[in-house]
Amino acid sequence: MAEKKDFRRVDRFIWELPKEAREDMRVPARLFADAELLDAAFRDRTVDQLINTTTLPGIVRYAMAMPDFHQGYGFPIGGVAAMRTDTGVISPGGVGYDINCGIRLLGTYLEQEEIAPYLQDLTTVLYRACPSGVGGKGRVRVSGRELDELVTQGARWALKRGLARPEDLAHTEEEGCMPGADPSQVSPRAKERGRPQVGSLGAGNHFLEIDVVEEIYDPEVADAFGLRENQVVVQIHCGSRGFGHQVCDDYVKGLQETVRKYGIQLPDRELVCAPIDSPEGRAYYGAMACAVNYAFVNRQVLAMGVREAFEQVLAGKVHNFDLFQIYDVAHNIAKFEEHEVDGRRMRLCVHRKGATRAFGPGLPQVPEDYREVGQPVLVPGSMGTASYVLVGTRRAMDLSWGSTCHGAGRVMSRHKARKKIWGADLRREMEEQGIVVRAGSNKGLAEEAPAAYKDVSRVVEVVHGAGLACKVARLRPLAVIKG
């Protein structure tokens, strides 16, 4: 088993394990961390899982873990790996169960003081407008045929149904529609689970938050994103619900046999995969893209719910209750992207599992009105603490296939958090800080306690220092809604 001493410091925040460290490694492994965060990697199975990722066929350069890394299943959380499209593989275990789990940030024209008198009411109405819980039913119900259209067209479907505005799509990764979605590769069970859940938060670490912009680090970029100090904003964190879970489940099971067929040796069965250029690999990609689109629509429908709730509570009371979309990013996804490898442009399949795309300025994938500054990156902190808005960099394109962290990253198990922390105490503490809390259960709150996570500010300092993304603004929660 690799130890800390086996890692070589290649830059202030980059630690590399050479590929000689374990016989089956194809490329080196890289951790992005400061000295303290690095220690955390050796307290759970992060390093083993990162080494396992380096063994996948066709992996290019390194397997990487962003500084919010922790043990997951298959890839570590925070894992980034790019595969060649000719000899490489695509792995459902490198994307995870909640396909296109992600964050959407909505801006308002309001300042903190303007909504303060209505915050309790607003939170209650939002809690009702955005259904939560594992099997929770969504705001919209669709027929089987509609679901096929929804997962093929993504946010464009929502636009046609009057559930989106054109500018929402422009400010969504992939414009809210991943190409290549193929509903014929999705099982009837995934569709059955997906139909009633469009527009629902789900459970676990998913949340909806009203925040205030507490500090601006880069006024020029903040201005481009429509952010200003003391402004009220809303974050939505959720994914593809039962639909995405079932897609992952079906393919992790189904590909167990495929791995043997293609003679792929794996150190962990969750890393199951298929050659990108194979019928099985194409089938998974087609199904995964459907789940990606489902998640874009899910967050879009919730965003419209947020708009309705703001209107219901604030109409006639504030000068402008509308919300505009700043951006929407995925943090569990595999995508085909062009990157430079040894001076040559190369098409790669980039897996990001608990990692966010962070494309720098000038790229066509960045929305036109942000193209001069770079793509917004949304990094939620643990519940009740700060969140950050960052911007992608050119350096990230060289260092990490244009990727950065996705959050704070856990350090304590849910089991331990439940034992150590009382949800009721936590609720009281947050309320004492003036944060309005609406949650399904105190136990659920305890699992997401800040003590169970790394310090998001520390994680953000590492990505900022390493040049994976730059700080733009810090957000502080005013109200938290949890499943």
């Binding site: 594992v134 099997g135 039962g242 079932q246 350090v411």
Partner: protein, 135 residues
């Protein structure tokens, strides 16, 4: 036969170590463990009995399918399964009955059953496996 499972630590998700004298007992203990993670099984009145028949590529895939089937039915119908009979089991095929009813409170929502380092091993007490659940 005792409880047949215990919770083990996992940074982000939840995991159970499960054991049994044979495949049938291992599968029953795994299903009981899942129910225990999700809710207090003592509060469940078994009012529903569902016959289940599953086939899979190997024993580990069969275990994931078995637990996944119970989770799916919980999400769909709200039934928490607490009592199990396995009538026939091989590493690739299972036939049995799951009994359960509505749970008063779901204390730990479970989203999926993973293959993370999944391997059914021979051990002193028969067979043993650790299952990581996505939450």
């Amino acid at each position: 036969m005792g409880r047949g499972f215990e919770e083990v630590s996992h940074t982000a998700d939840v995991a159970l170590r499960i054991w049994g004298r044979d495949l049938a007992e291992l599968f029953i203990n795994a299903a009981r463990g899942l129910a225990w993670l999700m809710a207090d099984p003592d509060t469940v009145q078994p009012t529903v009995a569902v016959p289940l028949e599953l086939t899979a590529y190997d024993a580990e895939t069969l275990l994931v399918s078995w637990l996944g089937e119970l989770l799916y039915r919980n999400e769909r119908d709200g039934t928490l399964f607490t009592t199990f009979e396995i009538e026939e089991i091989t590493p690739t095929h299972l036939r049995g009955v799951a009994k359960g009813g509505p749970a008063q409170e779901i204390r730990q929502p479970i989203k999926a059953v993973t293959f993370s380092d999944l391997a059914i091993r021979r051990a002193e007490r028969g067979l043993e496996v650790t299952v990581v659940f996505d939450v």
